[in-house]
């Protein structure tokens, strides 16, 4: 599903985002990418989104080698993955319903399909009653649920999350994590970049630890401390 080979990203100002990273994530996995602030988690996610180009190395996602994707192929590439950010990134002038429907309009779904699917997905993330609300009328947790609904409405094989619980209180954070777990059980590969120790420890999934852009540890069913303190 995801394969990085000797990937390095050096920013224009010389800062090292990630440094010679190789890793492989199989379809259906649930993976945490952990590390302190500045360790390179977001750089990794943005590389996978092809928002950034690696300075060197090879990235393959969903069978596509990213350096070979043309500008024209980008929309199609992005449609095959859901993305969730710390700051939700919802369209302010659209309702919850329309934010989710938007992702389907882009892929030319029919109106009937949209009317059938969007309520289902909203119900699944527990937002059935908020369909007509605008983002600024929602709590952080509700906004993130909306973003999650939008990310999965087209049933992408891969879901990328960058600090999805970063702006949420612990209880809400757990609700989101359980939703992610459910999505993963239904077959979607889920990659979560986070520095939330409690969550990583509670979930017991594969943990890839970054430290100054280098992979420190890669542990099945790990905890946050495993990665840094040794097993």
């Amino acid at each position: 599903m995801i394969k990085l080979t000797d990937v390095t990203k050096v920013y224009e100002n010389g800062a090292r985002g990630i440094d010679n990273v190789s890793l492989s994530i199989e379809p259906g996995e649930f993976v945490f990418i952990v590390g302190t602030s500045g360790s390179g988690k977001s750089t990794m996610v943005r590389l996978l989104l092809k928002e950034l180009e690696p300075t060197s190395g090879k990235i393959v996602v969903n069978g596509a080698e990213l350096s070979k994707l043309t500008r024209k192929q980008m929309p199609d590439y992005r449609r095959k993955m859901g993305v969730v950010f710390q700051d939700f990134k919802l369209l302010r002038n659209k309702t919850v319903y329309d934010n989710v429907a938007f992702a389907m309009q882009i892929v030319r779904a029919s109106n009937r399909e949209i009317r059938r699917t969007v309520p289902q997905v909203l119900a699944m993330v527990g937002l059935a009653k908020k369909a007509r609300a605008y983002p600024n009328q929602l709590s952080g947790g509700e906004q993130q649920r909306t973003a999650l609904a939008r990310a999965i409405v087209n049933q992408p094989p891969l879901l990328l999350c960058d600090e999805p619980t970063g702006n949420l209180d612990p209880e809400t954070a757990w609700e989101i994590m359980h939703l992610l777990e459910n999505i993963n059980i239904n077959g979607t590969t889920v990659v979560v970049a986070t520095h939330a120790k409690d969550i990583v420890d509670g979930m017991r999934k594969r943990v890839i630890g970054l430290s100054n852009g280098i992979i420190a540890k890669d542990i099945e069913k790990g905890s946050y401390d495993d990665v840094y303190l040794g097993v």
Binding site: P75, D76, N93, A103
Partner: protein, 298 residues
């Protein structure tokens, strides 16, 4: 583009117009003032042209024939003149006809007492295809001067003035439309650019979700077209409804102008209307296209 998509884009465009109503209003006003000047100027040019056409119609060349040329010589000369390029019509005026024309021109025929028709020279009246060939025809006539031509009478100065004025008017109006369209495009580009920057975050989000450039672009382009079309409809309707009024005021206010014919309104607006709508739409689409270009590269 499917009907469903067009409806979505149109809806987004209208929402954009309303959300940024102040900017939209400013852009519409910009287009409107430019189109207003273009429309007024066009109506003016159309009338000047119309007036020049009437003037041109009255300009012909007269070839005076020597009295000692016999009938065969006159016929021969007439045939030679007819073969000159750009000559559209040749009309023979006999002694008698020249006499009658002179009699008609003066209210008091008494002054012709004792003058015989034979004292009035025969002539050919030459009409040319277009006033611009006036000098060419004159040159051709001068090569026939040994065939019994006493004199060639023409209004070269008037001709020169008419062609100069008409060329100048066309040139000025052309460049004015060009400059005004350019100014409108620049102003629209900047006003729409402000609304696009305000929506940069949204554009980025759309790209994360996998929207194509065209999916993002269409609502902005339609917004530009709407601004252009609304902005051009207003002034053309104003000028149209004001046109007849202005003519009436001019004719009443300046009695001397009364005999000048004005071009009928429908003749002007059947051309101006579609042209201005097209120009407005073009200005809008170029303006919005230019303003969004930079923002799509994410």
């Amino acid at each position: 583009m499917s009907f469903r998509r067009s409806r979505y884009f149109l809806g987004e465009a209208f929402r954009g117009l309303i959300r940024n109503r102040l900017m939209s209003f400013a852009s519409v006003l910009t287009v409107a003032s430019c189109i207003l000047i273009v429309s007024v100027f066009y109506a003016l040019v159309a009338n000047i042209d119309f007036f020049l056409q009437q003037l041109e119609g009255g300009i012909s060349i007269t070839v005076i024939i020597y009295n000692d040329v016999d009938a065969a010589g006159v016929i021969n000369l007439g045939e030679q003149i007819r073969t000159i390029e750009y000559v559209s019509d040749v009309h023979y005026v006999s002694h008698q006809q020249a006499f009658e024309i002179a009699m008609e021109a003066f209210e008091d025929p008494e002054i012709f007492y004792g003058i015989l028709p034979e004292n009035f020279p025969r002539s050919f009246n030459i009409e040319i295809v277009d006033i611009q060939y006036h000098d060419t025809v004159l040159a051709a006539l001068s090569s026939l001067s040994n065939m019994g031509i006493e004199r060639v009478m023409h209004a070269q100065n008037v001709v020169r003035m008419v062609t100069t004025v008409s060329n100048m008017v066309r040139w000025i109006s052309g460049s004015l439309i060009f400059v005004l369209a350019g100014v409108s495009i620049i102003i629209i580009t900047n006003t729409i650019r402000i609304t696009v920057s305000a929506r940069q975050v949204e554009i980025n989000i759309m790209k994360y979700v996998g929207a194509t450039d065209w999916f993002i672009r269409w609502p902005f382009l339609i917004e530009g077209i709407l601004i252009g079309v609304i902005g051009s409809l207003l002034p053309v309707i104003i000028v149209w409804s004001g046109y007849a009024q202005v003519i009436r005021i001019v004719q009443e206010g300046m009695p001397l102008v009364e005999f000048i014919e004005f071009r009928p309104g429908h003749e002007i607006f059947i051309i101006l209307f579609p042209f201005v709508i097209f120009l407005g739409a073009l200005i809008g689409i170029i303006g919005s296209g230019a303003s969004i270009r930079r923002h799509l590269h994410v």
